[in-house]
């Protein structure tokens, strides 16, 4: 079977677009949205199961499938417009390549997702994994103006547009951001950018967790608007204590004003990171999230942060924690057996805390699902949407998981 699929794919894409992955599965890496669409259509017609893959740096490549469809062949930064602060990028483009290209043009994508620098932009969008910059610049959805998506049956849908304000038609882009590939494979994204900040300063406060969360509340109350206000566990920050990391970006004078204000706003001792260590610090935090096989996020309200982190420590372990002290989103990475994760999701749900499984081995994803149980009335809508975007159920994505039917 595998040889047949391999041959059919090569007939479709040519020899360079198809190889075998480390497990011997045929891996198609189409080089354009149209080619991606053709691969999906073929899989749909033949009833083949697809494992969706970016550059294979985030989700483990372990979903059972007949073939892998990777976006790594689509890595072009199609266009950048410094005057309009928008870019169109193919889904497989590595983040670090995109960042360099944007910086060369005086632009900046205000997203600092967890993971490796070569992670694909498509992966970030599909999993909606925002990093600490979420505090100042919002979740991933706020940065995506539109996208092209190949559905499970090979239709190409072009959602949204390239302008920064747009309400024409339904906002199909929102379904794809954080849809984990369950509603199609993202081929191309249109991104909202910002001017490269003239000043970029990071300050750290160290200490006991509750003192830092209290200090973070003071920062919020003082009307300061840092780009990040992130609480990092000792293991993630590679420090003996918990760390509260604030980052200010903007014009030189405005950042200086913010920094002056910060020192008087909370009863914390702030230490400014030397400019040449700032990038390395945030890169360590981003990469640190890969320090265990499971990453999950909890959506909590800001004053529930301590309780939710206690819950994590009790049900799993303190692990590698990165928490938005102002916004409330908590990301945990570590190693935990299925039963404990299942227990955590139950405990979180009983406290009205949504838990999204961001990455985990297939056995856990399959059982728990990325999302778990839906709220009232949502399951039937999601079921119909999946039926719409993947009528043949070719995309092997565990949105709900076996636990949830």
């Amino acid at each position: 079977m595998s040889d047949v699929i391999f041959g059919r794919l090569r007939a479709l894409l040519g020899t360079t677009g198809v190889e075998r992955d480390s497990q011997g599965l045929p891996r198609a890496a189409p080089d354009s949205p149209d080619a991606l669409s053709l691969v999906c259509r073929l899989a749909h017609e033949e009833g083949w199961k697809i494992r969706v893959e970016g550059r294979a740096t985030w989700l483990p490549s372990d979903a059972p499938a007949d073939l892998v469809v990777s976006t790594r062949g689509m890595e072009e930064v199609v266009s950048v417009s410094p005057a309009d602060l928008v870019a169109t990028v193919q889904a497989g483009a590595p983040l670090e390549v995109l960042r360099r290209r944007l910086a060369d043009n005086g632009m900046w994508l205000a997203l600092d997702p967890p993971g490796r620098p070569e992670r694909s932009i498509g992966s970030v969008v599909a999993t909606a994994t925002a990093g600490p910059l979420r505090h100042g610049f919002g979740p991933v959805r706020d940065h995506v103006l539109g996208c092209s998506v190949a559905t499970g049956d090979g239709r190409l849908v072009n959602a949204g547009g390239r302008v920064v304000k747009n309400v024409a038609g339904y906002d199909l882009t929102k379904l794809q951001v954080g849809g984990f590939g369950g509603f199609g494979i993202i081929a191309e994204v249109h991104l909202r950018l910002r001017a490269l900040p003239r000043a970029d300063v990071t300050l750290l406060a160290r200490g006991a967790r509750d003192a830092l969360t209290s200090g973070a509340r003071d920062v919020v109350a003082a009307d300061l608007l840092p780009a990040t206000l992130e609480l990092l566990s000792p293991a993630l920050a590679a420090e003996p204590d918990w760390v509260l990391a604030t980052r200010f970006v903007g014009t030189e004078t405005a950042v200086q004003a913010d920094v002056r204000r910060l020192s008087s706003s909370a009863d914390l001792s702030w230490q400014q990171l030397p400019a040449d260590r700032t990038a390395a610090f945030w890169s360590t935090v981003a990469r640190g999230t890969l320090g265990g096989p499971v990453t999950l996020r909890l959506g909590v309200l800001s004053d529930g942060l301590d309780e939710a982190i206690d819950l994590l420590a009790h049900d799993l372990d303190e692990g590698l924690v990165s928490a938005g002290a102002g916004q409330g989103m908590i990301r945990w990475t570590g190693d935990a057996p299925l039963e404990r994760l299942r227990g955590l999701r139950r405990a979180a749900a009983s406290r009205e805390i949504p838990m999204t499984l961001e990455r985990a081995p297939w056995v856990i994803r399959r059982a728990l699902g990325h999302f778990g149980a839906y709220r009232e009335g949502v399951g039937k809508i999601v079921g119909r949407l999946r039926g719409t975007f993947d009528p043949g159920q070719c995309l092997n994505v565990a949105l709900e998981g076996a636990d949830n039917g």
């Binding site: 038609g169 199909l172 900040p197 003082a222 009307d223 009205e352 999601v382 009528p391």
Partner: protein, 473 residues
């Protein structure tokens, strides 16, 4: 509308809240756009979510389409219903159910007036950001349906960025709870999908919004320019400097003339080709620092004069003309076609030239007042719809303006929605496959297509998609 349905609706809401006489229905025959008119078969006005559920369940059972309507201030014909449809007026559901100052959230019913929400939370030092020009009348429910914007959405985002959770009555009468107070969804981002769906996915009966702290300091600057091009260049230069103002608004000469000739005169220079309003907010030191940079940019781009204000009264004076621009245009002619399109910011000067060319070609009065920071244009055509020839020229001019915006990579609407006004333009920016996907998504919420039929997606232009088969419920 048949008597048995009227009786059933009356049983749900009480007879006085069912309107079916011709004179009563005339009130609902238009929204804020004077170019479209349609009289609903009946209007029913529920007072609580349970009544909405009962009404929708009944209509689903008998297969009668319905249209949800807030204050009727929409500008795309989206809240108009045909004579075979029931219009569900939501203005009685106007309670602010909960305000949580700690987490900066409010839970409101759909009929709450936008400005009233901000007024209610003002004593707590909070406000609701999206501020469409109609905010004194429009409802939060309508804002959700249209994904409404406003001048202050440049920095803080449009409605979709301020809604965290929704309780929704689906078109079959069942309930769905979307999103969470935290803003993290319990699944795919259905709140994001629902906001801006123009009443075609169901009716939001409870809306949880994000509130923001009133900024410590606000500085408003008004600059006037000899050319629209120079003002547009100033807009781009401010953004390129890494400054994102709370608002960045432009008015052209015709708009300024209309304002200054009205009771809303704000002292704008009538000889200027364009006037730019820049508002910065945040903590005091940072605002002052950025104001200095903006001032330099404005002067560097050729501003003839820059006025600056930081007290609420002085700022209100500078804003008065902008806020009341649409009212001022009402003096020019009996009707005003408020158009809405978006272009990449970099082409603002060129597109303004084109709009001027279209104005001359059709011999119309067009005033431009728009959100320059995000390229969201509002060419407003003053006319008298009683003159069919003029009305035809207005329609043709609107079409040409849209075509010009689309040709430079823009969109047919930035904040007013498609409704029935812009159905014909949808195939200009979306291919048949994408339109079909939209229709299929609508069917996921509303398989019978009873909610606000005939809007947003031109069905004739959709490629056929396989009927939705829910195999994974």
């Amino acid at each position: 509308m048949n008597q048995s349905l009227l009786a059933s609706l009356s049983r749900i809401v009480g007879r006085q809240w069912v309107r079916h006489r011709r004179a009563e229905l005339a009130t609902y025959a238009m929204d804020g756009l004077p170019t479209h008119e349609s009289t609903p078969g009946v209007v029913v006005m529920p007072s609580n979510p349970e009544q909405v559920r009962e009404i929708v369940r009944l209509l689903h059972l008998v297969g009668v389409p319905f249209v949800a309507r807030g204050a009727g201030t929409g500008l795309s014909g989206g809240a108009l219903a045909d004579s075979d449809a029931v219009l569900i007026g939501l203005t009685r559901m106007n309670r602010i159910l909960e305000v949580d100052p700690v987490h900066r959230r409010a839970v409101v019913q759909p009929g709450v007036v936008n400005a009233r929400l901000s007024d209610a939370v003002l004593p707590l030092g909070l406000y609701y950001v999206p501020d469409p020009s109609s905010q004194a009348a429009c409802t939060v429910g309508g804002n959700v349906a249209e994904n409404a914007g406003g001048p202050h959405c440049l920095k803080y985002g449009v409605t979709t960025n301020h809604i965290v959770a929704l309780e929704v009555v689906l078109p079959d009468g069942s309930t769905a709870r979307l999103g969470s107070d935290q803003g993290e969804p319990w699944g795919p981002d259905l709140v994001g999908l629902f906001v801006g769906s123009e009443g075609m996915f169901g009716i939001a009966t409870q809306i949880t919004v994000r509130l923001e702290r009133i900024p410590e300091s606000v500085r408003t600057m008004l600059a006037d320019f000899s050319t629209v091009r120079a003002a547009s260049e100033a807009v781009s230069a401010i953004i390129a400097a890494g400054i994102v103002p709370a608002a960045l608004e432009m008015m052209d000469r015709a708009c300024v003339a209309a304002v200054e000739a009205s009771i809303y005169a704000a002292g704008y220079p009538t000889d200027a080709a364009a006037v730019l309003l820049v508002e910065l907010d945040g903590q005091t030191d940072a605002v002052e620092a950025e104001a200095g940079v903006v001032l330099q940019i404005l002067r560097g781009c050729g501003a003839r004069d820059v006025r600056s204000a930081s007290t609420p009264d002085d700022r209100a004076r500078l804003w008065q003309g902008r806020k009341k621009a649409f009212g001022a245009m009402g003096r020019i002619a009996p009707d005003l076609a408020v158009q809405d399109a978006v272009v990449p910011r970099s082409v603002l000067p060129a597109i303004m030239d084109q709009i001027e060319g279209i104005r001359r070609h059709y011999d119309l009065t067009i005033s431009n007042v728009f959100h320059a920071g995000d390229g969201n244009l509002h060419p407003n055509i003053s006319f008298d719809r009683r003159d069919p020839a003029v009305a035809a020229r207005v329609r043709a001019a609107c079409r040409d303006i849209m075509a010009a915006c689309v040709a430079v990579g823009g969109s047919i609407t930035g904040e007013h929605g498609v409704g029935n006004d812009k159905l014909d333009y949808m195939p200009w920016i979306f291919d048949s496959e994408t339109l079909a996907a939209m229709r299929a998504v609508r069917r996921a919420f509303d398989p019978a297509e009873l909610a606000n039929p005939g809007k947003v997606v031109p069905v004739h232009a959709c490629r056929e998609w396989t009927a939705v088969r829910s195999t994974r419920q």
